[in-house]
Symmetry: C5
Subunit: 357 residues, 5 copies
Amino acid sequence: MAKRKIGLPKRKKKVSRVHGKVGTAPGTVSYLGTKEKGDSVVYVTTYDAENVSSKEYNRVEDILKYRKETKTSWVNVVGITDEHFIEDLGAGFSLNNLLLEDAVNTDQRPKIDEYDGYIFGVFKMLYLNENDEIVPEHTAMVLMENMVLVFQEVKEDVFGGVRNRIEAKSGRIRTRGADYLFFALLDAIIDNYFLVLEQVNHRIEITEDEVYADPKPIVAQHIQQLKKEVLKIRRWIFPVKELVSRLIDSESPLIKHDTKLFLRDALDHSLEINESLQIYREMSMSLMEMYMSNMSNKMNEVMKVLTIMASIFIPLTFIAGIYGMNFEHMPELHYQYGYYIVSGRNDHPFCGDDDLL
Amino acid sequence: MAKRKIGLPKRKKKVSRVHGKVGTAPGTVSYLGTKEKGDSVVYVTTYDAENVSSKEYNRVEDILKYRKETKTSWVNVVGITDEHFIEDLGAGFSLNNLLLEDAVNTDQRPKIDEYDGYIFGVFKMLYLNENDEIVPEHTAMVLMENMVLVFQEVKEDVFGGVRNRIEAKSGRIRTRGADYLFFALLDAIIDNYFLVLEQVNHRIEITEDEVYADPKPIVAQHIQQLKKEVLKIRRWIFPVKELVSRLIDSESPLIKHDTKLFLRDALDHSLEINESLQIYREMSMSLMEMYMSNMSNKMNEVMKVLTIMASIFIPLTFIAGIYGMNFEHMPELHYQYGYYIVSGRNDHPFCGDDDLL
Amino acid sequence: MAKRKIGLPKRKKKVSRVHGKVGTAPGTVSYLGTKEKGDSVVYVTTYDAENVSSKEYNRVEDILKYRKETKTSWVNVVGITDEHFIEDLGAGFSLNNLLLEDAVNTDQRPKIDEYDGYIFGVFKMLYLNENDEIVPEHTAMVLMENMVLVFQEVKEDVFGGVRNRIEAKSGRIRTRGADYLFFALLDAIIDNYFLVLEQVNHRIEITEDEVYADPKPIVAQHIQQLKKEVLKIRRWIFPVKELVSRLIDSESPLIKHDTKLFLRDALDHSLEINESLQIYREMSMSLMEMYMSNMSNKMNEVMKVLTIMASIFIPLTFIAGIYGMNFEHMPELHYQYGYYIVSGRNDHPFCGDDDLL
Amino acid sequence: MAKRKIGLPKRKKKVSRVHGKVGTAPGTVSYLGTKEKGDSVVYVTTYDAENVSSKEYNRVEDILKYRKETKTSWVNVVGITDEHFIEDLGAGFSLNNLLLEDAVNTDQRPKIDEYDGYIFGVFKMLYLNENDEIVPEHTAMVLMENMVLVFQEVKEDVFGGVRNRIEAKSGRIRTRGADYLFFALLDAIIDNYFLVLEQVNHRIEITEDEVYADPKPIVAQHIQQLKKEVLKIRRWIFPVKELVSRLIDSESPLIKHDTKLFLRDALDHSLEINESLQIYREMSMSLMEMYMSNMSNKMNEVMKVLTIMASIFIPLTFIAGIYGMNFEHMPELHYQYGYYIVSGRNDHPFCGDDDLL
Amino acid sequence: MAKRKIGLPKRKKKVSRVHGKVGTAPGTVSYLGTKEKGDSVVYVTTYDAENVSSKEYNRVEDILKYRKETKTSWVNVVGITDEHFIEDLGAGFSLNNLLLEDAVNTDQRPKIDEYDGYIFGVFKMLYLNENDEIVPEHTAMVLMENMVLVFQEVKEDVFGGVRNRIEAKSGRIRTRGADYLFFALLDAIIDNYFLVLEQVNHRIEITEDEVYADPKPIVAQHIQQLKKEVLKIRRWIFPVKELVSRLIDSESPLIKHDTKLFLRDALDHSLEINESLQIYREMSMSLMEMYMSNMSNKMNEVMKVLTIMASIFIPLTFIAGIYGMNFEHMPELHYQYGYYIVSGRNDHPFCGDDDLL
């Protein structure tokens, strides 16, 4: 159906997935997303002020050796469909199973959990695909001593800017530790929300133009679609402010005081995003009002035409009804082609050469 | 009447029950539900890491011997219509009468009460019956030293998953105590809310399709029904988040620190459920708006047809009124069958063989 | 006027009362209600585990002797129109004049005030009168050492259940002190709110049926009436939750720890009542929406009939206008009774025996 | 314009006043109200338990001598347009310039400020003028040691009750200090809000009757006016609750513990007023709903008439169009006066004696 | 398009700017506004109780010498498009890069950040341009020891009043330090909000008059525009209250106790502004209601005309249809000019001299 075309890609039918999950023990690591099963690829970048090196691995053992690394490591796991891989990796890094469950549970809402020795966060990376649809991607990040471990469903370039800054020798990121990397990745996700909100704003303006131009029934569906979309995005984005604020208040030794200054900046952005969301929500709601008022206007126009037509011709018809065709002096009646003219017909007359006058 | 068919089973007429309750002393144990009187059956499962045993009892004395049990016991009382049985059982376990009153009061809202030596919780177990109607079932749970005492109205398989995990030797549940069992049962109830919410979502989508397809009066009633249903489910589910959060903050020695990590997970799920509820509530409210806008659209369509018909034919009728039948050249009038054709009749002509021209 | 019939009894015109009150010193004891002046009657019940005795008095001196009573006394003052009586009684028990002012001020909102040596509460007792109208009755209660002093406008049997439990030797109430009596009376008031809410629910359902059945203008007034009623009841009931919660947190030695367990139960009920109120409020608000949608539906139906009639007959009339009566073969015209049949008349024809064919 | 007649007196055009104020230094004492420039008159009442004396002054020096007065003094400055007078007076009592600015700034919202040695409050005195319009009057009060200094725009009798109680020897006010006087004046202002709210309620009822009786366009404007009025009154009254509550929590030695008991009473009244305001606000908002529903009803009625007329006469006209005037047996046609009867004319016939049959 | 003419100047297309910003490191100083690149001009005013001097500079070095100035300096940087200039200046004063980023980021929401040694604030200066449009101007202020550093996009005279007060020897501002200057500038910004709100109020009244006078479709767009405008202004103004309140609670030695008294005054103004905003928001929302009700009224009027026309003429036409032209006594038919009169034509008759009777 056409009605869902604007906005988010089609709602995934997740009935069976939920059914499959209900009743299992908590801490069961099972992938709930829609991606096809496949191997995980792990991209590891290690750097300090002097050096950067990037490698790609497929096996858990190769990654575990980075546990002892003193440089800062960014371990980026792409593909979370292989639950055994995730479980082995988690075991290798002594991560809690509840954490791993959330890392691969694509329905998990954004959260920050502090464990002994590591901080775990789930965020929704939002980006626009080639059709300018807003695509949510589940992202889990673990901040450990000298390491940030990231779980992604697919390899997206939202983190591209961070990678570039690491590779550029001059970047501040090179001289700061894993906590700054954690912040930088989070900041990249939040920055991307601005692009998504711009797209939402763009859609609101397009729909508003539709409302002004021609309030057809389909426009009401577009508005409804828009409202749902804002509701959904809100669900993914709204908690982030609270989470960043919790990171700032955290007393974990993993986050250095310097980095908190940057987190305060990220908090600022989250606040701004939440305010925008609120405004977009109110705007999408008042679109329906506009639509209704425009429709009433159209109805008014239609009714006015009807009333004018009726007010002119009904009395005339009445007058014609009384006197119309009985006047003795009606010149048109005697024209040969009178009937054809009045009835708007241009076919050849039955008896073209008759002249009865 | 058909109007209540969608959604919850018919509202129970509870006037007399409330009347019966008003004026009695607090702590009076009286069943307020709609189930027929019957005997309670008690299923007792005791387990530790090595062994599991399940038994079924009908008499209070048999159950009381589990008071001294050092393994973890799950005492599941099914059927709470027999108030004497409940009172005797409560007395045997030294439970407060106010607790027993709430345990059998099916109108009791979800709650957590901490007493000396035990923690008491009331929850609404929601499940879908064979007609996919959402059925609320009153469930009370008491967490004691080495024991969880559960009161249910009927034997439902919402707890089936927990039972399976206990019977499976490998399950983590076997090595953890009564507090983990309490959590596991609560988690099973919360997990089931996801299924119920999915059903609500499904109904919203069906009703939305009805609204788009044909906004008949009955659809407005469906929407109203849906809104009421969401309001009711909200009442049962919404407090759970607060209650789980209170369990986490509890300083009772009955809840071990390890289990709180799992409760935090349950809290997460409650949060997600409450967010979904909020979204469903807004969606059900905007359905009415959509309905009204579609109805206005339909009205507009009808009015346009009327206006077009009137705008074309009223002036024509006026013109016809003046000139119509008096033109001297109207070929149709002289056809033998003209009248029958124009009036759309196909009966045999009165005088079929006349030819007046 | 008929429009106020559903719901509460007619709003009392209280202009003059307010005018009379404005400008007086605070602490001035003046009755503001609508009851006619009359003597106060005081019912005193004293009891302990062994004995109960009930007496009736008219004079302040008789009551003051209970100040030294060591059994629990329930002093129930019925009729608060006699301000001198109230003032003398208050002076006898050393009660603050501000308290007495509130005790007889029927406009006073629910409140709890702790004084040295006594706790004072104002509540609205709501009950259904013989016409099922919801009647609010001002009730003030003072909890003192071994005594509860109650001020009522009229003798209502809301407290009947408590009286019965006192008279029944077995009741727990007999062995507990004045604080439990205070709780029991408060609990009786709260319990009665359930009956009132049931009545509200009943009215919402009746009005909903009216909306579905036939959305006449009077129904809109019923809805408006209902909304106002819920607003008013809310004002009386809503603060109670907060007040009970304050009693629980109170550090006054007048309330024993045991009784707080029962107050927690009352708090639970208040919470449930407030939730119901909230739901009824939303339901009464969505009734108006339903009404509007049904009215739009009716309008749609009417418009459709009009459009169908017009779409069929206006073109036909046009066609008839052109050809109608000029066809040479119109059998009906030649029937003798044609005119009478078509015009639906059955009077005797002017010239019954003519036959022109 | 008639549309602003209900409700508040015309909005004052204050553009120039605001423009004049913007850019000046804070603490600049400049009167912003609409009263004409005039001299201030100062009424001083001093009293203790034994004596009362009232005097009237025009010069600052006369008032400053009361600084050393040990009795309680009520210094009532009426007229605040003379900024020099106010500044001199303020300097004499060592009052902060920011305070004086607020004292004469009639746009100042209600506030309580504690300074060293005095407490300053701004309140809006609301009263009904002779046309029952609600008039706000700016009132500033300073509580000092043994003195209450009041600034009023005009001499209003809202404080008349307090004056009477001071003059009556028996009043409690005579034996209590300046803090009780401050409370008594504040209480008088709050008491008057009840009268104003009653007037608002009265207007809501009148407008409601208009809505029920005849929903003309002017009624929509009345409702809009009412909503604005409630919004404005709310702005003046709503903060008072918070301010009284702050006075109660104040640790200033100027407010004695005894007086706080009375302030608690005033807090109670403020709470009640805020609740009423809330209810009136909801009622004024639902009036618009009622209006819309009644208008829809009227439209329905009109449409039904139209549809009935059309449904009856359009088919008849069609039938008449086909057969009407061609029946050979139409007795009316042959009556001499038929035409005059059917067309409803009663003028004398052109040729009264013609008989063509 | 005409629809955006009322209200704010056209929304700037900022897509590319956001795209440019996303992915850069935090602390990157890049101007995001719409002003054209240009040199910054720095106006420096130094003053103490005795002397004032004002200078204008273009180079960073000239300004840095004021770091050691013991008089109070107001360093006003006008033009923030030259990022290198800003970075150099910031480096010279040892300002954090995150601060500089916000100083030139024109999308930054209002904020207060305390750093070691300085306090940083971002505010939106709102003023009316020559077309009475509301123009937001990004303003950043840094309070340092003896200095306030201000960054502005353009030189606006909102600060003109402050400049005048500095130049006037008598002003209090001369004897107080940099913190009072910081307050005075902030107060000037807040004071200007009153003018902007007045303009908003003015627009609401104009739109309200449009709604009352003639609810054309364009008026609905004006209302929508107004609602958006209030939403946007709210976003810029609303946080200020919170920020001022934070300044008051700040424990920074940079803000003296005396100045906090003045900040309390500014807080008061912010509160008043927020209340006004809230009221304007509700008023702009109820405008749409008014509009809808007026449109319904117009529709009602149109329908009534139609119904009256139809109710009068449709039955008459029917009657005319039956009897109309067949009466034998219709005098008009025999007039020579009857046809021309009834049809309202005044052309010369075809056969003016014919007389068929």
